[in-house]
Amino acid sequence: MEAAATQCLFKPKDYASDQEVKWCPGCGDYAIINAVQKAFSELNLKKEKVAIISGIGCSSRFPYYMDTYGFHTIHGRPAAVATGVKLANPELSVWMISGDGDSLAIGGNHFIHAVRRNININLILFNNEIYGLTKGQYSPTSERGKITKSSPFGTVESPFSVGELVLGAQGQFYARVPDTDVKLMTQVIIEAEKHQGLSLVEVLQNCVIFNDKTHAEITNKENKANNQLILEHGKPMLFGENNNKGIRLNGLELEVVTIGENGITESDILVHDATTKSNVLHNMLIQMKLPEFPIAMGVIRNTEASVFDKEFTAQITNQQETSKLKSLDDLFLSGNTFTIKD
């Protein structure tokens, strides 16, 4: 139960509920909730206008810790529940919180359909490449060969690439961020809320207990300048300790070049356009892998397209305005009827 909200702006901590946060000490989920609270505060979201829907998993305990409306549903189904929430009340700011198991194993179908429909929901995917809550089995994002409780001899499956799957399902917004960069996370989450349609934020999240340091090569302080390319719309794709490395297009392939070497200048470097309809370059950016490439971070794709809940509602409004039927009584009495008199 909550005290009535006041008119003034909310501080990040105002979005915290009275429930004790129960993630393991050191879990990457803490950073994510911080970023979300910061973003909500910057967006000045009214708590009562927010509905946070999650599935089952460590990550999915998230709604309990937020002083908004929240629903901790069942494993794999938050996208379907969130779809119902949004269609029932399009005024709400609907957030879906989910794990790599929740959204990509059992929930894969609802996930790709929510993406395809481009319903206006913000989906934060906590990708720790493991099933945390069930104590450490491999997930559909675990790298091939990974040794876990359910793969004592290493997995023999190729993982999904979240971004590629999203784009393959006609996704219009995809961002990737490490849990170590709260600032970037906050920005990206703000962008996600602003985007109309399904906004997918993949967070590379660390599970200290069952998959510690999976993302370390990318996120480590020592490596991050060289191993992350932080994309900004309209900015050249530069990275590296001295910000002098960049991405260049060579035919149908990307390559890493260094400004000042071999006559390369900034004008050779690609400028990021998140808003272009074509997903060809977005896909290429998503596919960049260590060690040849840095990992692309930030908002990779952010395009406008028809928004499902908007059109769904508009069709109803349109019928309400144009139909000859105005009441159920009209309907019941339409067509062939017959009357029996006493």
Binding site: M1, E2, A3, A4, A5, S17, Q19, K46, K47, E48, K49, V50, A51, P63, Y64, M66, D67, T68, Y69, G70, F71, H72, T73, I74, R77, A79, A80, V81, A82, T83, G84, K86, L87, A88, N89, E91, L92, N109, H110, H113, F312, I316, Q319, Q320, S323, L325, K326, L328, D329, L331, F332, L333, G335, N336, T337, F338, T339, I340, K341, D342
Partner: protein, 613 residues
């Protein structure tokens, strides 16, 4: 030429032909006309699960049976008085089940040698003695139809398609029924393609005239209108009535209606119907599967909409886990299962009542839920309305069981206006209230309040983990779990305090109580009625409220020597009663053939029990 007329109480006609022969349309149009004439009617469409099953084979026969009359119409009838057989296969499929002296109308154009063989006859049934007990009307229907339409310049296929209307015209003549309404239908329907409309109308008229010309049977029949309560009626199928019941409930509750569903036979028509009515604000979401169907409904309920999901057996199975979530979060949703033949994919186009156990008990954990069922096509309206009322006023998911037999069947519905219907009072809280807690309950019903997102200060979280009996916060406390298990059970049990008493028919009959539930109402009623008229000591009670049972159920059962539970399964309601009211002994009569009961087989069973000492 004048025809002598026989006035009959009621008649059963069956239209039978290939899947492509348009028998469902012919039957429906006949039903519409006869309904408008004020007859009591009951229909039973019966078709193969293939879209166009192989032409000319028995497996491909599509049938539409209609029983209509002035009285005694409680079911679509055991067997036809008039059979329309468009080809040998249609004849073959129905030969084993005809009333003595049945009239058989056949298209002799389709009785070629090959057709006869395909149907599995060795000889031509029209010329050997097969039909000697029946009155056969032979018409060269295909060729006459083509001839009649020759001037319209239609292609062969389109002309051929009109032979169902030629036939219908003949049937209309047989029963002295007017053509106007059917003509209007075609004028309306083919506004954009008037040639096709005209072709059908022409075929219809030609058939009528042909029957008149040949004086198809010595007498033709007239059925007087039924003595029905005064009022305005329309013909309605169970699925349509279900959809309309929900629309009415939403209006009377003052909340938007949401349907999340995935197509499945025979439930899909409820979705088809609702989606037409966006003008009334109906939000229809065709989900990617049944799980998304119910989960979107749960989300919509959480967000304050009246949320429904519709399906049939296998889809119901898939919704099992999510129903548990609705039970745990105590959200008001209605789950409609239009039952079909099982198990597994089973017999998708056939009727059965074999999902009762699944509805009552088929979930993990102690997960009590309200279960109700409809009993006639038209009363699907009322039970959809009542399901919604219970869900909203008791904050609980409700399962509504109908059947293929109801969903596809049709009967006249005495039209209700919105003002006839009671208000539904959802337990919403619409503004901040300092005393509110998410799982605080009202005393009478043990229901919690419905608080949709949007209200300042009432933010809260719900979920599938066990929750504290007051705050709704996650609780792993053992005692609290025990308390919550009991509350959920008692909340459902208390619905019995808010429903009418169970009734039974047959005051002085102490010997045998016939117990039914669901869509076999009309047939059971008819069978019992017949025996009551014969003065037998037999009574009848029919359940629509399954869980909880009406409070006076035991009281009624106690009055009788024998209790016979009749259902289209292997004894599920009987077993449920044994578990719920174990003090009584229950006899069973069951049929699991994908078909409704026959009045005759019921009467045999009843008589057997009545004669036993």
């Amino acid at each position: 030429m004048d025809k002598s007329k026989t006035i009959l109480d009621s008649v059963v006609i069956k239209f039978a032909g290939d899947s492509g022969d348009g028998m469902q349309l012919a039957g429906t149009l006949f039903t519409d006309t006869t309904a408008v004439l004020g007859n009591a009617i009951a229909t039973f469409p019966d078709f193969p699960s293939e879209i166009r099953a192989p032409q000319g084979t028995v497996a491909g026969v599509s049938g539409f049976q209609i029983h209509f009359g002035s009285s005694g119409v409680h079911s679509p009838g055991d067997a036809p008085d008039v059979l329309v057989a468009m080809n040998p296969a249609a004849l073959k499929a129905n030969l084993h089940n005809l009333k003595p002296a049945c009239i058989i109308l056949v298209d002799i154009d389709s009785f070629g040698k090959k057709d006869i063989e395909k149907a599995g006859f060795t000889d031509n049934p029209l010329t050997d003695n097969t039909l000697s007990d029946y009155k056969v009307i032979e018409g060269p229907i295909t060729s006459l139809t083509k001839a009649a339409l020759a001037d319209l310049g239609l292609d062969n296929k389109s002309a051929d398609r009109c032979k169902n209307m030629f036939t219908l015209g003949m049937v209309f003549w047989l029963f002295s029924e007017p053509l106007e309404q059917t003509i209007q239908f075609f004028e309306q329907k083919f506004k954009k393609n008037p040639v096709i409309g005209q072709a059908n109308i022409l075929a219809l008229k030609s058939g009528y005239n042909y029957a008149l010309t040949i004086e198809a049977v010595k007498t033709s029949f007239t059925i007087l209108p039924a003595k029905k309560a005064s009022g305005t009626y329309r013909n309605i199928t169970g699925n349509q009535a279900t959809a309309w019941g929900f629309m009415a409930a939403a209006k009377k509750a003052g909340k938007p209606l949401f349907l999340g569903s995935y197509p499945i036979t025979p439930a899909t028509d409820i979705m088809h119907e609702l989606t037409k009515h966006k003008w009334a604000g109906a939000k229809v979401f065709q989900a990617e599967d049944e799980i998304a169907g119910i989960c979107s409904a749960i989300g919509a309920a959480f967000a304050g909409n009246i949320a429904i999901t519709t399906t049939s057996g296998p889809g119901m199975a898939l919704k099992t886990e999510a129903i548990g979530l609705a039970i745990m979060t105590e959200l008001p949703i209605v789950i409609v299962n239009v039952q079909r033949g099982g198990p597994s994919t089973g017999l998708p186009t056939k009727t059965e009542q074999s999902d009762l156990m699944q509805a009552v008990w088929g979930r993990n954990g102690e997960s009590p839920i309200v279960v109700i069922s409809a009993s006639t096509p038209a009363d699907c309206f009322d039970w959809a309305f009542e399901a919604t009322r219970i869900a909203l006023e008791h904050m609980t998911p409700v399962i509504l069981l109908t059947e293929s037999y109801l969903g596809n069947g049709a009967e006249p519905w005495k039209i209700k206006t919105l003002s006839d219907l009671p208000q539904i009072k959802p337990l919403t809280l619409d503004a901040f209230d300092a005393d509110w807690k998410p799982y605080k309950r009202d005393e009478a019903k043990l229901a919690r309040k419905w608080v949709a997102p949007g209200i300042e200060g009432l933010q809260h979280r719900i979920g599938g983990l066990e929750k504290d009996a007051q705050t709704g916060n996650v609780s792993h406390n053992p005692q609290n779990h025990g308390v919550m298990v009991d509350i959920r059970k008692e909340k459902v049990a208390r619905v019995a305090n808010f429903i009418p008493d169970q009734k039974y028919k047959g005051k002085d009959a102490k010997k045998l109580l016939v117990v039914g539930w669901g869509g076999q109402f009309g047939i059971l009623f008819g069978a019992v009625n017949d025996l009551q008229k014969e003065g037998k000591y037999i009574a009848f009670t029919h359940f629509n409220y399954i869980n909880p049972l009406p409070k006076n159920t035991a009281e009624i059962f106690a009055k009788f020597d024998k209790i016979l539970v009749c259902e289209l399964n292997s004894g599920q309601f009987a077993n449920y009663l044994r578990a719920t009211l174990p003090q009584f002994k229950y006899e069973q009569f069951n049929k699991v053939q994908g078909l409704p009961f026959k009045i005759s087989e019921l009467k045999n069973k009843f008589n057997e029990l009545l004669e036993e000492k």
